[in-house]
Amino acid sequence: MTSSTETLVLNRERGRPWLRYLALGLVALVMLYPLLWLVGASFKSNGEIFSEIGFWPSRFELGAYAKGWKTSTEYTFATYFLNSFLITIPRIIVTVISCVLVAYAFARFEFWGKKLLFSVMVGTMMLPLIVLRLPQYLMFRELGWLDSYLPLIVPSAFATDTFFVFMLVQFLRGIPRDMEEAAQIDGCNALQLLWHIIVPLLKPAIISVIVFQFIWTMNDFMGPLIYLASVEKYPVSLALKMSIGATEEVEWANVIAISVVALIPSVTVFFMAQKHFIEGASSSGIKG
């Protein structure tokens, strides 16, 4: 029996692997150049930004960072970042809890309407959610939740981020039930099973959920845009918008610097967990 590496060696022996590496390298460079350039530009002077295509700054100036951080509002980005985390962290927590519970139900249990609910779940992944925004807004308005973080956090407590439920279900389906059966014989009830057996096995998938939800929430724009009115509650996404929205004359250097800072949490989390969640993302696609 031949291993896939042996056979691929042949195809590539007669092919030209370096050509592929070159092509990939070029594309990667083009793709990432804007980001590289952004980082470099954050250290450049205003004049240099507009004249140099090379991304390496001739001199490292940190002025833009300081000014950008302070912003032209009465709050610094410290406030805005704090706000972002005030939205993101609770949201992640409730997402993980609710999605794990619901995924557990779909993957293991039988219950009334299971097929229907599953189709609904898959269907909502394809719904243009925009159609729901307005009524949700009115609903939250009735509840008096406008200008608070509740509309951004509470829905996630009900497993409404169906992508995550789907991903967890797919992952769970791949886990054999032997250990759960053994635990049941040992007398575990459902919650104990979930906590002691399932959750540890689900760890990679849960990490994916956390990473995705973190990044998506940190970058969420439309949600905060619709629901938040007071500037002191603005997360980073809205604050960034503010810095370019006000006038025609944009302090680009500052904006660029602060954009870099805004991206740092997402990029950091991404690199810390990238191997994990790329696999989670790809497996949820093919088994569909």
Binding site: M1, T2, E6, T7, V9, L10, E13, R14
Partner: protein, 373 residues
């Protein structure tokens, strides 16, 4: 239908590992040649090198009159049947069979004719419109074979085609394939076949000649009977034949005018035919005797040896008896109606077994080479 010639074929991988060491082999036109050996012996690698799926790092490969080292599989005139069939799941059986021909630009009528002919040969005309996922294992394998036949190649290559089938199916497919080969030859379209397997039963029953490989080195190339009767070394001797030949360390010592073998504390005088060529030797050897050449009842020319019984496996028509000569464990293969007294004996009992020493083998203690060849 072509002659296949391998001269000093070598395979060295990028990391320096040498998988195939200087293989020289000639496969005759229309011959059914089997490559057999344990896993890791490089039989599949060798096959894939013939196919063009692995590069040849040393030596020359000729198919027919052409040197094909640098040619792509398509240009070599080969057709391969894969272990996992490799049928295109998104095409019907017909399309699977026709694919290669269509790529080569063969006119539609000829494609249809060749496909139907192959389907007829393999009795699968009724499967032509089905998809691979609707086929059983045996049917899928036939389609894989059909795909090869349709190409009218110079050499057929089979890579362990039956190992994914269950035992019964394997047995019937074995017969089918062998018959196919012989039929093709009789009808004037002889097919040169190289068939890789790890199963020595397949090798023995299907092959006209067998090439036994170990760790990338050819051990022996011969007909099944020759391999059975005159194995070139202890490895071939133990690989061919089931249950395995009894091979044990023993001592050669002079005995009167001839030689005797000391095995498990027993002195076994060798027949003159064996002793003669080894006159000058003494010391350690490997003694080999096939289980079928140990009987429970006396036979002409056999030597009676006292042994003790270990246990017995009943196979229905025959019995595998495991016994010991002294400390040496042996196996005998006895027809069920020739058990004699053995039938009533229990574990640990003593019994006299009869060794047909004129069928024994003696191998060099270090190299394993057959001393009597």
């Amino acid at each position: 239908m072509a002659h296949l010639s391998l001269k000093k074929i070598e395979k060295v991988y990028a990391n320096g590992f040498k998988a195939v060491h200087g293989v020289d082999l000639e496969v005759r036109d229309g011959e059914f040649m089997v490559f057999v050996g344990p896993s890791g012996c490089a039989k599949s690698t060798l096959l894939r090198m013939i196919a063009g799926l692995e590069s040849i790092t040393g030596g020359d490969l000729h198919i027919g009159a052409r040197r094909v080292n640098e040619l792509a599989p398509k240009q070599r005139g080969i057709a391969m049947v894969f272990q996992n069939y490799a049928l295109y799941p998104h095409m019907t059986v017909y399309e699977n069979l026709a694919f290669g021909l269509k790529l080569a630009g063969t006119p539609k009528t000829e494609v249809a004719q060749r496909v139907r002919h192959a389907a007829q040969l393999l009795e699968m005309e009724h499967l032509l419109e089905r998809y691979p996922k609707q086929l059983s294992g045996g049917q899928a394998q036939r389609v894989a074979v059909g795909r090869a036949i349709v190409k009218k190649p110079e050499v057929f290559l089979f890579d362990e085609p039956l190992s994914n089938l269950d035992a019964k199916l394997r047995a019937s497919m074995r017969v089918r394939l062998t018959e196919l080969h012989r039929n093709l030859r009789e009808s004037g379209q002889p097919a040169t076949v190289v068939y890789v397997t790890h199963d020595q039963v397949e090798a023995m029953t299907m092959g006209e000649r067998i090439c036994v490989l170990k760790e990338g080195v050819i051990q022996q190339v011969d007909t099944p009977t020759a391999l059975y009767d005159h194995p070139a070394n202890a490895f071939v001797a133990s690989f061919i034949g089931s249950p395995e030949m009894n091979i044990h360390e023993a001592q050669l010592q002079p005995q009167g005018e001839g030689l005797a073998v000391v095995l498990g504390g027993q002195v076994l005088p060798l027949p003159a035919a064996k002793a003669q060529p080894l006159r000058s030797r003494s010391g350690a050897v490997k003694f080999g005797l096939r289980p079928e050449h140990v009987t429970a009842l006396p036979r002409e020319g056999s030597l009676a040896v006292p042994c003790s019984l270990r246990f017995v496996e009943h196979m229905g028509s025959e019995v595998f008896v495991h016994f010991s000569i002294g400390e040496t464990a042996m196996t005998a293969r006895v027809p069920a109606d020739q058990l004699g007294e053995l039938a009533g004996k229990t574990r640990g009992a003593a019994h006299v077994f009869h060794l047909q020493l004129e069928r024994c083998h003696l191998f060099d203690a270090e190299t394993g080479a057959n001393l009597l060849l």
